[in-house]
Symmetry: C2
Subunit: 250 residues, 2 copies
């Protein structure tokens, strides 16, 4: 029975997709059977592994509205042990279409029950909000990975995030815990990065692996590749390999 | 009659709040009466001008659910000619509470009618989504300013954004136009920045003012100040002064 991680932070642009794609790809490279689920209407995780959302006929949207099983929408990627459940364009509409359903929080959890035994790790990439798509991920997950830029605005949002996780844990998913915070785009030369990192360590478990700011991480998606395929020797790729080792060790 | 700008991009972390706060502050510094409206539940624009969302008793949420007028919630900032309509914590709930109202798209537009003659410029900071809060801003605005990081994922999202703007223009707000794209966190040394900028210029009007990556822009919010007060000589502050000049000239 694999471990299911929701990669969540309502603050935008903190590295959720970059962490989902590259942590998943690093575990897959270590021969672990890994599934990446794209719950963001932008579809960045899908295009980050070479699957363009515009070309997807059935995706996570179809699973949420009950038109397809998760197993039906899973696609291959360039890494044999890495699969993706991609976003299709209409995922944007899902939040409004599901709002009246009694079980609206638990749809992904139920869909995942049927396939999770085929994978060692599952990563769910979430949009920058605490709406229904992220709630579904939190209800389906064993643990939460919180990517966090070392910036002031990102620090401000942690309170709201903690409240939401506590609410889901109490009402829907008692086993849910915060696996840890991943510091991303870290620049050790700048005071703000160090000050914010020190502040976060006071309240959360922070992974030892720190992801530096590294342009290779932002170039890789334009080739539809995880960074481990694009430039395995880069500091960005090394950071995510370290993170994968920590996740394996827990 | 002032000009109303919606600052929109569903991609997270591209500089929407930084642009809203600092373009508004630069125009206010040029003696223009300016209103900043925070439509993001994160409340970053509010704290960016020194108003903590936790302390706000009545904010944009109260205006949207009809409990207060916009004029009631407007607060002063450290710049005499800059006012803020801040977020209160419960704005997160607004999207679900308003969903059944017939006029749900036009609530902000109606609220703004009563106060807009008091201001020369209005900036509406939006959350990283194309949901009801952003739709309200697009219906209330004269024009859209699109902050854009020169990165691949940010480029991918422009199609969805253009579709949404066209839909609102056709159905709700015929005068709506794209004022321009502001390139943010620009690093001329890196190929990706230049390639993405060239690509954007093919499809959109791009402001001459380019905002460089500048750590002073990310330090200023921790002091609750726009960058023009925190470090007016910084390259970030200069970039936003240039942008303000362009907006004045149009
Ligand atoms: N360590 C890093 N170094 C340099 N660039 C990075 C790094 N991590 C992410 N990026 C780039 O920064 C941008 C934001 O990252 P990403 O899209 O992964 O964040 P996100 O949290 O998923 O955003 P959203 O809130 O829109 O979903 C992307 O263009 C990405 O390529
Ligand atoms: N030109 C810049 N140089 C350096 N840092 C910047 C710049 N512009 C913004 N930042 C920092 O980058 C982060 C993202 O910017 P900001 O929060 O303004 O984006 P946003 O689009 O409003 O994000 P969200 O999608 O969460 O609303 C912030 O921490 C901000 O301080
Ligand atoms: Mg993302
Ligand atoms: Mg913002």
């Amino acid at each position: 029975m694999g471990r299911v991680f929701a990669v969540v932070n309502q603050k935008g642009g903190v590295g959720k997709t970059t962490t989902s794609v590259n942590a998943a790809a690093s575990l897959a490279a270590a021969e672990k059977r890994t599934l990446l689920i794209d719950m963001d209407p932008q579809g960045n995780a899908s295009s980050g592994v070479g699957v363009s959302p515009r070309t997807v006929k059935q995706g996570t949207y179809d699973v949420l509205i009950g038109r397809a099983n998760l197993a039906d929408v899973v696609k291959d990627t360039a890494i044999a042990t890495l699969k993706i459940a991609p976003t299709s364009r209409d995922l944007v509409a899902a939040e409004y279409e599901l709002i009246d359903r009694e079980d609206r929080d638990l749809i992904l959890k139920t869909a995942l029950e049927r396939v999770r035994r085929k994978f060692d790790f599952v990563f769910i990439d979430c949009p920058p909000s605490l709406g229904l798509l992220t709630i579904n991920a939190l209800c389906a997950a064993d643990a939460v990975i919180v990517p966090m830029q070392c910036e002031y605005f990102a620090l401000e949002g942690l309170g709201q995030l903690t409240e939401t996780i506590a609410r889901i844990k109490a009402a829907r998913n008692p086993k849910l815990k915060v696996e840890g915070v991943v510091l991303t785009m870290y620049d050790g030369r700048n005071n703000l990065s160090r000050e914010v990192a020190d502040e976060v360590r006071k309240h959360f478990r922070v992974f030892d692996a720190i992801i530096p700011r590294n342009v290779r991480l932002s170039e890789a998606p334009s080739f539809g590749q995880p960074v481990i395929l694009y430039d395995a020797r880069s500091s960005g790729a090394q950071g995510y390999l370290e993170l994968a080792k920590e996740l394996l060790g827990n």
